[in-house]
């Protein structure tokens, strides 16, 4: 209980403003809504001629990627540039750290460059927490995905997508389909959806791909896609990593598609105006039928645009949260 308070405290400054963004868990509805509102304003701005704002002028943002991800890194990079920050991209493959330098030493080196924000992706769950605990107090940490733990900016861009297309969360039934076990996105979505007041969150998949006691995080468990999709307003498909077959989580892509692939036929049991989302990159014919991915109910491409806006929102909010913390400390 005590420690949970610590984890929460880590993300917020003394005034309760965001200073790091590590997880959607434990953040208030007001704060998540503020992120969405801020993101909304940036999303609208994307259509304007002048795309840059000076919110992070003179600040240095370091994209610290311990795991490859061109796509996520690019949106963070673009988001930082739109906020007028200087951006440094560091791809630190695990082989570099296995040369003997500890994560803490890596951080010390980066701090010496007078960075203001680290955007961190790391294969170990909890790495951004660790970094937030060990960096100097005026560096903001944004979690860009850690192990199986959390991917809060992806979850928030999904929330933005839902809100912009459904108007709100309260009456919604949302289904998350596929490999929940390995998905940091799913965990962050479950917390965000519950906090934002969704009526029901469902997870759908075979037992091999569902974490134990996932229902205690606030999700109803379904093993049958037809049952799980019944009357839902939102369908979120997760990417299936193809190595899951080799490690015996699944028999084959074919059987997975047969049981959990989202087809036009299957989608019929959902509400007629249900929306379909996917964090990408998609495997056509593995978790989703091409016609559905490209169909009218699909928002997959929209999500990419919202991703930029959401990351701009979170980065600007965390930076201002750090600034108020700094002035409070002085």
């Amino acid at each position: 209980m005590n420690q949970h308070a610590d984890a929460l405290k880590l993300q917020l400054n003394e005034e309760g403003r965001l200073r790091h963004f590590l997880t959607t868990e434990g953040l208030s509805r007001e704060l998540l809504t503020e992120i969405l509102n801020t993101a909304d304003s940036f999303a609208d701005m994307g259509a304007q001629a002048v795309k840059k704002v000076p919110l992070l002028r003179g600040k240095t943002v370091v994209n610290l990627f311990f795991e490859n991800s061109t796509r996520t890194r690019s949106t963070f990079e673009l988001a930082a540039k739109r906020l007028s920050a200087d951006v440094l991209n560091l791809d630190i493959s695990t082989s570099a750290t296995s040369k003997g330098e500890t994560l803490k030493d890596t951080l010390r080196n980066l701090e010496a460059m007078a960075s203001d924000m680290f955007v961190v992706r790391h294969p170990d769950s909890g790495a951004p927490h660790f970094i937030a605990q060990h960096v100097t107090p005026n560096v903001a940490i944004i979690n860009a995905g850690d192990g199986r733990h959390a991917h809060p900016t992806q979850a928030m861009l999904d929330m933005l997508t839902i809100r912009r297309h459904k108007g709100g969360f309260e009456p919604l039934k949302v289904a998350i389909v596929g490999d929940i076990l390995h998905s940091r996105v799913a965990r962050s979505q479950i917390y965000a959806l519950n906090t934002l007041g969704a009526d029901e969150v469902r997870v759908i998949g075979p037992k091999t791909l569902l974490p134990r006691y996932i229902e205690e995080l606030g999700a109803e468990v379904y093993h049958d896609l037809g049952e799980g999709l019944k009357d839902v307003d939102v369908v979120i498909m997760l990417r299936l990593q193809l190595e899951r077959m080799a490690s015996a989580f699944l028999p084959s892509q074919g059987e997975f598609y047969k049981l959990y692939g989202l087809t036009r036929e299957r989608l019929k049991v959902a509400k007629p105006d249900a929306i379909v989302m996917h964090p990408g990159p998609i495997n056509r014919g593995v978790e989703i039928e091409s016609e559905v991915a490209d169909g009218t109910q699909s928002l997959i491409l929209k999500q990419v645009n919202y991703g930029l806006a959401t990351r701009m929102a979170v980065m600007s909010m965390a930076m201002s949260g750090q600034a108020t913390q700094d002035s409070a400390n002085q």
Binding site: Q3, K104, D124, G126, A127, P211
Partner: protein, 425 residues
């Protein structure tokens, strides 16, 4: 050296003793209880009024880290922590570098322990060469070199054929095997109990079945071979039930747990604090409560510290990337007293699980304070409150989840073979 320990509450479970009685030590042995023997001129009188006098603690599982890992701890530093915690005898694991799979390494460790002059150090020899789980170690030679039991120190033995032969060979010479059951495949890559907390934190899980499945493998083979097996650090009530049932059938098995599994649970992992990264992992609060309930029976025979010093860098990383383990020698007794305080068992029963029972498992004439017994004695103040912290921690390493907590019960004096090896200043 003649020592008179005066006015303490003497708890000696081996002799069903729990009363205020003086104790007299001469030439390393207990020579009298109660009245001063004729002509006994004490060189030192220890005033023990208000204190508990009991046999020195016997810890079945300790990593001393030497040879090979002296950045974590040394034989000198860790045995010093032992006596500060009232531990007078400890079994040290063979996962050293070089591995303790030869009489030479066994001898080296014992020599250094003797030089340090703190606690008695009983080496556990490697069950297989290099702990690789493939070839039998020279078990008999290791025993002759002072090893009290053989263990693979948590390293897997994949082949049941090899394991069967280990057990047959050990049974031939009535050698004790200590095993920490954990199915290799089910625990591979895991760093937390496969439960709600691991799901929430996204940590790769180790299910209860990793323990119970391996326990059943050992039990089946122990029953077949007649080998003597001691299970170290069981963490689930179900595993204890399985051991209990086997004991009823006459299988020669015994079991312990480490104190942390009786007090902590996976709830503590919230916030990714690597101090709680242990292997086997901390289980659920229900498992912890189940272990506490098992304290009133006989199957949970002993409690150890599973002391594992780790240098700061080994713990300063994201949870799953840290080294598992915690230091525990200095806190074994005060933490055990928490269970007495909580009403799980009486103080004499607790002392029994920390002294007499581990001695019995090892087949040693230690852990009692009868006349003629080795004067290995722990004298502690059961009421004293203190804050365990970096300043008063004796181990070379500082990886304890109990730092900055107020503990009740402090060791005042520790005697090994009649020598005062620790005295609280």
């Amino acid at each position: 050296m003649k020592i008179h320990i005066r006015g303490g509450r003497l708890i000696d479970p081996a002799n069903q003793l729990d009363e205020q009685r003086d104790l007299f030590v001469e030439d390393g042995k207990v020579v009298a209880l109660g009245n001063t023997p004729q002509g006994f001129e004490a060189d030192r009188v220890i005033e023990a009024a208000g204190l508990v006098v009991c046999p020195g603690l016997i810890d079945l599982q300790v990593s001393l880290s030497e040879p090979g890992f002296t950045q974590k701890g040394t034989i000198r530093s860790e045995t010093r922590a032992a006596v500060a915690g009232g531990v007078t005898t400890l079994c040290c694991l063979p996962n050293t570098a070089p591995v303790l799979d030869t009489p030479a390494v066994a001898q080296l460790i014992q020599d250094r322990a003797e030089e340090a002059g703190n606690a008695r150090v009983l080496p556990l020899g490697a069950l297989t060469k290099q702990l690789q789980g493939e070839q039998l170690s020279n078990m008999v030679s290791l025993k002759e070199a002072g090893c009290v039991a053989l263990t693979n120190a948590g390293k897997p033995i994949h082949s049941n054929q090899t394991l069967l032969r280990c057990m047959e060979y050990a049974a031939t010479y009535d050698l004790l095997m200590m095993v920490r059951p954990q199915d290799y495949e089910l625990s591979k890559g895991g760093c937390a109990h496969d439960g709600k907390m691991a799901s929430k934190l996204g940590l790769p899980g180790i299910p209860e079945a990793a323990e119970t499945l391996d326990v059943s493998r050992y039990l089946v083979l122990a029953e077949q071979t007649g080998a003597r097996i001691h299970f170290s650090q069981l963490t689930t009530p179900r595993a204890f039930q399985m051991v209990d049932a086997a004991q009823q059938r006459g299988v020669k098995v015994s079991a312990d747990t480490a104190i942390q599994y009786l007090l902590l649970s996976d709830d503590n992992l919230e916030n990714f604090d690597s101090a709680y990264h242990l292997i086997p992992p901390l289980r659920t609060p229900a498992d912890r409560d189940g272990l506490q309930a098992a304290l009133s029976g006989s199957v949970l025979q002993a409690i150890c510290s599973d002391h594992q010093p780790q240098e700061a860098a080994a713990k300063e990383a994201p949870f799953g990337a840290t080294e598992p383990g915690m230091i525990g020698l200095q806190t074994l007794l005060p933490l055990a007293l928490k269970l007495v305080e909580a009403g799980c068992l009486s103080l004499p029963k607790m002392v029994e699980k920390l002294t007499t029972q581990p001695a019995k498992i090892l087949g040693l004439e230690l852990g009692n304070l009868g006349i003629g017994a080795e004067a290995d004695i722990c004298i502690f103040d059961p009421e004293a409150q203190w804050v365990f912290d970096e300043a008063n921690s004796v181990s070379q390493s500082h990886n304890s989840p109990f730092y900055n907590q107020t503990l009740t019960g402090k060791v005042r004096y520790t005697l090994v073979a009649g020598q005062l090896v620790h005295e609280l200043q």
